[in-house]
């Protein structure tokens, strides 16, 4: 166990996580041939309670949106920069319905370049890139609400050599 390549390792750790949850453990530590895994799970009612709660919970609104938005996997984000929404509002990829989007996936952008607008209380807030780099992924859908901290863009920064 745990002595293969890292992809397999993740799968194996996932297995341990499932095992931990299935048995309602709070902590699990496994060590073998130089590998050691220690898991802790604050059992807290989170997933169970959500499941038992109102079905409406994931049916509508920004919460649902945040849940279903394309959240990048840890591997994808490694070394990348995520631009998140600094405010609550509505996400627009272009300045007006007729205008072209500020950026597309694959575009090269400069630090300070406008990437999108988040409208809040009739005010258009321009969101700028924090780095030079290439847009890897656009994570929110135009005209849809976004909450504070919601990931909007994934950018692969240009090496500052």
């Amino acid at each position: 166990m745990l002595n293969d390549a890292s992809g397999d390792q993740l799968a194996q750790i996932q297995e341990l996580v499932d095992f931990l949850k299935r048995n309602n453990l709070t902590e699990l530590e496994v060590e073998r041939e130089g590998f050691r895994v220690r898991l802790r799970h604050e059992t807290g009612a989170r997933p169970a309670v959500a499941a038992a709660g109102a079905a409406d919970f994931v049916s509508a609104g920004p919460h649902a949106l945040a849940e279903s938005a394309t959240i990048p996997l840890p591997a994808e984000t490694a070394g990348k920069v995520t631009i998140t929404s600094p405010i609550v509002g509505t996400f627009y990829r272009s300045a007006s319905p007729d205008a072209d989007p500020y950026v597309e996936e694959g575009d090269l952008v400069k630090k300070g370049q406008v990437l999108c607008i988040v409208e809040a209380m009739k005010l258009m807030n321009e969101i700028e890139s924090e780095v030079d780099g290439r847009i890897v992924k656009i994570l929110a859908e135009s005209t849809k609400p976004v909450e504070y901290g919601q990931p909007l863009f994934l950018i692969d920064p240009t090496p500052t050599s």
Binding site: T43, A50, F57, P62, I87, E147
Partner: protein, 449 residues
């Protein structure tokens, strides 16, 4: 009636409001900071919007983000709970201007009630008994001296913009006044950003009695009995009860009448609390109006059966009160204990992971809390984690039930005020109802001896 309400708060009061909405068939939107993503109030709501980082100034008090959250979710009204934006006149005004109903008093109400000296002046003009004090803010020491001489020593200096015991100074003699005035002004300035200070008669061992009122848009005002909030530590209430053991039926009617008059004098709307000081000779004096739902509102609900949060919502929706003064019945007796995540000796906050949580149950026991097993008490907010409320046919039964429920309450992993509450409820003087606002300090002093 509203179809969707945004609850601009967290913890037990957010859950309390969400529950009322659910019972009224109204959809709810929770807001939360990044520290509260997994909180019960977030999961209990139909929708949830993260409005900022952990610091409440940037999240729960962030007016643009809170209003945007209402906008993007299509919420027609906002319930502010208590604390945070609940007594922010500017917020209430902005809500009105963007067409979102603020569930509470008008922005004018909040502004006036926030200026305690002025509010008192308005009430006094109606001929109602107001705590003897300066007619408004004092401009200088000589004005203060003149006012103090008129009222008679001892007096207490207070910040107009204040609350919670900050910026207060008791003055026993004339020659102490000048220095105390300067100190109070300076503290008011640094704490509240406004140096305005006023002065009032200081009573030894008074009781803090407050009267719950409801006022609808059409000018109908009813009162729902009083609450005795004399068990305080540095102006922080720890135990409340209703009816007050110090208030007779006649006095109750009289305080209720004055409370309703005062509310009408200031054209107040929605739920509010009229605070009185009751001295040892059964004289009572108007102090202020709390322009919000209060932490201790449940005990009034227990003895009247009236859901105050639902009434707030109905009034905000423009509905008339569904009952008259003569319909209100006070049945039995109720206590509330505020369980805080605090070290019970020093009252320092004690956040952390709650490893065990088992609320008490059974007849006459109510728990208002957003705690669950394995909850995290985060360090960013108020330390109130649960309100334990009991009801009984009489004071003795409600008290015995509270003792039983306090013994039953299990919260492990963090320190709480539970041991202090158990101590209060086994104190002989408390059991007899012979308490004043200095009761708790004395109990704590005896402890350390």
């Amino acid at each position: 009636m509203f179809k969707k309400i945004l609850v601009a708060n967290r913890g037990e009061i957010a859950l309390r409001v969400i529950r009322a909405c659910q019972e009224l068939g109204i959809k709810t939107v929770a807001i939360h900071s990044e520290a509260d993503t997994n909180s019960w109030h977030v999961r209990a709501a139909d929708e949830a919007v993260c409005v900022g980082p952990a610091e409440d100034a940037l999240s729960y008090r962030n007016i643009p983000n809170v209003l945007s959250a209402a906008e993007i979710t299509g919420a027609e009204a906002i319930h502010p709970g208590y604390g945070f934006l609940s007594e922010n006149a500017h917020f209430a005004e902005v809500c009105e201007s963007v067409g979102v109903k603020f569930i509470g008093p008008t922005s004018e109400n909040i502004a006036l009630m926030g200026d305690k000296a002025k509010a008192r002046e308005v009430v006094a003009r109606r001929g109602l008994p107001v705590l003897p004090g300066s007619p408004g803010e004092l401009r200088n020491e000589s004005e203060a001296l003149e006012a103090a001489r008129k009222i008679g020593f001892p007096v207490i200096l207070k910040a107009s913009a204040g609350g919670g015991g900050r910026g207060m100074r008791v003055v026993n003699k004339e020659d102490e006044l000048a220095r105390a005035f300067q100190a109070a002004q300076a503290e008011a300035k640094s704490t509240f950003g406004h140096e305005g200070v006023y002065l009032e008669r200081y009573f030894l061992e008074p009781r803090h009695i407050e009267v719950q009122v409801l006022a609808d848009d059409r000018g109908r005002v009813v009162f729902l009995g009083e609450r005795d909030c004399s068990i305080q530590r540095r102006y922080q209430k720890l135990v409340e009860e209703t009816p007050s053991p110090a208030v007779s039926e006649g006095l109750r009617r009289e305080m209720g009448r004055v409370a309703v008059e005062a509310i009408k004098a200031v054209h107040y709307r929605n739920a509010g609390t009229v605070e009185f000081l009751l001295d040892k000779d059964q004289n009572f004096y108007f102090m202020e109006v709390n322009a919000r739902i209060q932490v201790e509102h449940p005990i009034t609900e227990m003895v009247t059966g009236i859901d105050l949060i639902k009434e707030q919502i109905r009034i905000a929706a423009g509905l008339p009160l569904g009952f008259r003064q003569q319909d209100i019945r006070i049945t039995g007796h109720s206590f509330e204990c505020r369980i805080n995540a605090e070290c019970p000796e020093k009252f320092t906050p004690c956040p952390g992971l709650v490893t065990q949580y088992r609320p008490p149950g059974g007849f006459g026991v109510r728990v208002d809390s957003a705690m669950e097993p394995h909850s995290h008490v985060v360090p960013h907010y108020d330390s109130l984690i649960a309100k334990l409320i009991t009801h009984g046919q009489n004071r003795e039964e409600a008290m015995a039930r509270m003792r039983r429920a306090l013994d039953e309450f299990v919260i492990e992993g963090i320190k709480t005020t539970l041991p202090l509450h158990r101590r209060i409820f086994s104190d002989a003087e408390f059991q007899k109802g012979r308490v004043s606002t200095s009761f708790l300090e004395r109990l704590l002093t005896n402890q350390s001896n």
